[in-house]
Symmetry: C2
Subunit: 492 residues, 2 copies
């Protein structure tokens, strides 16, 4: 794979002088087009061996284009705020919004490769990282992000020469550290692991470009030209790069049984029994979240359910058990302007709790496969791929000591009608019932189908759905409190 | 000041039972009104002695109202990302947007009081903190934030009793730590310093309410009622709480001399001299930002200037000297939706650099006293108070090892005309000239006046304005590079 980048590519000075100004002007124009249309962001990933000119190339890109609209991020030490979230959190934070170019110096590739090279991880761990990266980049591509990945390569001999020549010049000596030489010693292993990783992650939607790093002119023109062509092609694309992928049809519904109508909605509690259990489980949840072992965990509870199913009042029974300093409730409504300029999942990543904290989502990332699917706010392709993306996301959470508990608060169609009418007749509850609620109700069947598909596709062993019959509110609240307690207990 | 909170206030259980449900319903209604109108945020500050029921009260507020629209933040240890910015940064991050209630558990009061109590700081430092807090809260109030500050008080005797009773009960024992008893020992000093601080910061726009902490019923009803009344009053206020303050008139302009026309616009450089100096100063700036001593500093460069003055090209000469991994250019355009829901300065605070980094603002917080003033995008009151707020902000930056360099890039009216015409005639520069530029040009006099006022009021010894004549672009670029180098050198 690297052989083609060891052939001594070079561009003579004269040729460079002719081509550079044209490339530069075209790049600047493409950048302004991108900015004006603001239809998609560009993510440029920079990786490769030391001394192959990564830094210089990034600087030059910033010089050629307008640096005001480029966001360059280098990923050094993990900050403590980053360390308390899943590893991908710091990259989500750094994604450029639509219309901008983000240059990621070091990226989601660095840690998996380095860990494997120094023997901190074994082959299966690297394989898993590779798989995750493929999913992640595939999601970015589906969201319209233009991804370009550049790997700067030097042969072993060339790297040695380069490091020595940098060391000789007093002006560049500072750039060569002991770490560089230590890394040079493991060149072969680094090369082998990198090659494997690159091969496995060079996909049609996010290909790797190997750039020979010896000759600066060659390096600069290569990166510049590849970037220009990719941007021009995408800017000219009327479909905005959207995939032409046609999802497979969903399983047909052959009988009337499903996870919703299989529930026993008759379950109920008396007021007295409710009060007794409420105190018991609230006390237990309170103790559990104050347990010293909880300081290394965090809890995310997701509430979804039909309109008027009682999500809000259930959430209040849970927050009532917690210390207000340790939880946040995130009500999910329409995305803000900054959120709309990012991939769909971005607005959930930004709310992930630190260790020892609780975050409750009142509606969640499942909006995509529920309301957005039914109301056709997104394409079939978008909500079909969401199942997979959601599973990936939740797996990352759980693997990073998040206790994830998902509730579908379920009521029957008759019960909903009763509650809607009740709301209309009680003055201080009228604000809770709108025209939209009645409209949604007309699509009961579509929503039911969406819920069943969702449960089928996203109820995983690590993050199962808890479908709770809630025709009796008291029963449902206790059921959810009890489930939360059990899940936290099991995790500690 | 605390005497009235040591008289043994209490509310009998029966009375509480009657009043609580009404208060609760009214609070919830006020909260939904606030949310629906989304005209202003509510900031509730919670301070006071340990064991006076701060935590319980905050939990109760979250229980009474809808916790989904309350953002409760407790400020524990400073994270490393916070430690690298001015102390107020963490509070700016935590401000609730319009329509929401933010409960700040611990606040900008904690550190100044604690530092003084333990003798880490002396009286003048506390005085300075108090002065800064007054300015900060005055700014919040002017931005429409409804501020309520609650101080939970217990007499020395009552605190002792409370801590002992908490310790006796196995269910609450965990809440009393050694720190609590250590703090109890310095009760008198804590009381004295707190009292002083509260007295000095209890202003008309952000008053303190002292709440006697002994009786829970009294405590809860007091806080709830005060909050309700303040919210209801503000919600009913047609002016949205905006101040009726009439600013003093600006000094009249009696002659034609000002900082702009006093400049020597004839200064220029030859191409050759420019090339020589460019290399010299870019090299110097590069070395300076790589100096180990720079790792504890950060650099913020602000660029303002007339349209077509050459801000963009000057910025590119500066970024050309820097490593792309260490700087960010922030172009300031219209605020986003999330930014509009916050006080004016919020969108600049969010971009403050970490240590060892450079942030370049292409236009800045000065927009308020320039374009917003001239185009009447904000009221006279808003831009008049901005001078003061800006000086406060910049002082915080400089005190926290930010090297702040501000440039006004100045051209004459004739030079601007020449450049506008040039832009119109060159194909690839046409996107740089719009109708708006011509419109702005018609208000040249108003802008000139605004610039002169700005320089007069915000050119301080810690953050002076550098007004650079830029009819000759080459001269101006070198002038700015040289100034940057000098300022960084002096700071190291």
């Amino acid at each position: 794979m690297f052989e083609s980048a060891e052939v001594g590519h070079s561009i003579p000075k004269d040729e460079y002088r002719v081509r550079e100004p044209k490339l530069r002007e075209a790049l600047l124009k493409a950048q302004y087009d991108l900015l004006a249309k603001a239809k998609f962001p560009v993510v440029i990933i920079i990786g490769g061996v030391d001394g192959a000119g990564k830094g210089e190339t990034v600087n030059l890109l910033n010089e050629w284009m307008d640096p005001r609209h480029i966001v360059t991020r280098a990923f050094g030490e993990v900050s403590d705020e980053e360390a308390e979230r899943p590893p991908m959190w710091r990259f989500w934070r750094a994604l450029p919004p639509k219309g901008r170019i983000g240059v990621l110096f070091g990226s989601w590739y660095t840690q998996p490769i380095v860990d494997r090279v120094i023997g901190k991880t074994k082959a299966p761990a690297l394989m898993q990282s590779i798989e995750e990266i493929r999913h992640f980049e595939s999601m970015l591509a589906a969201e319209g992000v233009l991804i370009l990945k550049f790997w700067f390569h030097l042969s072993k001999e060339a790297q040695k020469k380069r490091l020595k020549s940098l060391e000789k010049d007093p002006k560049t000596r500072w750039r060569v550290t002991d770490t560089d030489w230590a890394r040079f010693k493991i060149y072969d292993r680094f090369r082998e692991i990198s090659e494997h990783t690159l091969r496995e992650t060079s996909t049609g939607e996010a290909p790797w470009f190997i750039v020979e790093g010896t000759d600066p002119n060659y390096r600069y023109l290569t990166v510049g030209t590849l970037l220009l062509e990719a941007m021009q092609k995408r800017l000219a694309d009327k479909n905005g790069g959207g995939s032409s992928f046609k999802p497979a049809p969903l399983e047909p519904v052959l009988d009337k049984h499903n996870v919703l109508n299989a529930l026993n909605y008759k379950q109920s509690l008396t007021r007295a029994e409710y009060a007794r259990r409420l105190e018991k489980f609230q006390g237990r949840l309170n103790l559990l979240t104050r347990d010293p072992r909880f300081r290394n965990k965090s809890l995310i509870a997701v509430f979804e359910g039909q309109d008027a199913a009682g999500k809000g009042s259930s959430i209040r029974r849970i927050t009532g058990a917690l210390d207000a300093r340790h939880y946040q409730v995130i009500p999910i409504a329409a995305p803000t302007e900054e959120e709309r300029a990012q991939p769909y999942m971005w607005r959930f990543w930004r709310h992930l709790p630190r260790k020892g904290r609780v975050t409750i989502f009142d509606r969640s990332w499942y909006g995509r496969v529920l309301v957005e699917r039914v109301e056709k706010f997104c394409s079939e392709y978008d909500w079909m791929r969401a199942y997979h993306e959601i599973n990936d996301f939740e797996e990352q959470l759980v693997r990073n000591d998040v206790i994830l508990v998902k509730f579908w608060v379920a009521i029957t169609k008759e019960e909903q009608l009763k509650r809607f009418r009740e709301r209309q007749s009680i003055a201080f509850k009228q604000f809770k019932i709108t025209e939209e609620d009645w409209r949604n109700r007309k699509k009961w069947g579509d929503y039911e189908r969406a819920v069943c598909d969702m449960v089928e596709r996203t109820s995983t062993e690590i993050a199962p759905w808890n479908v709770v019959p809630a025709n009796d509110k008291l029963f449902a609240r206790i059921e959810m409190l009890r489930t939360l307690c059990e899940r936290v207990e099991r995790a500690l």
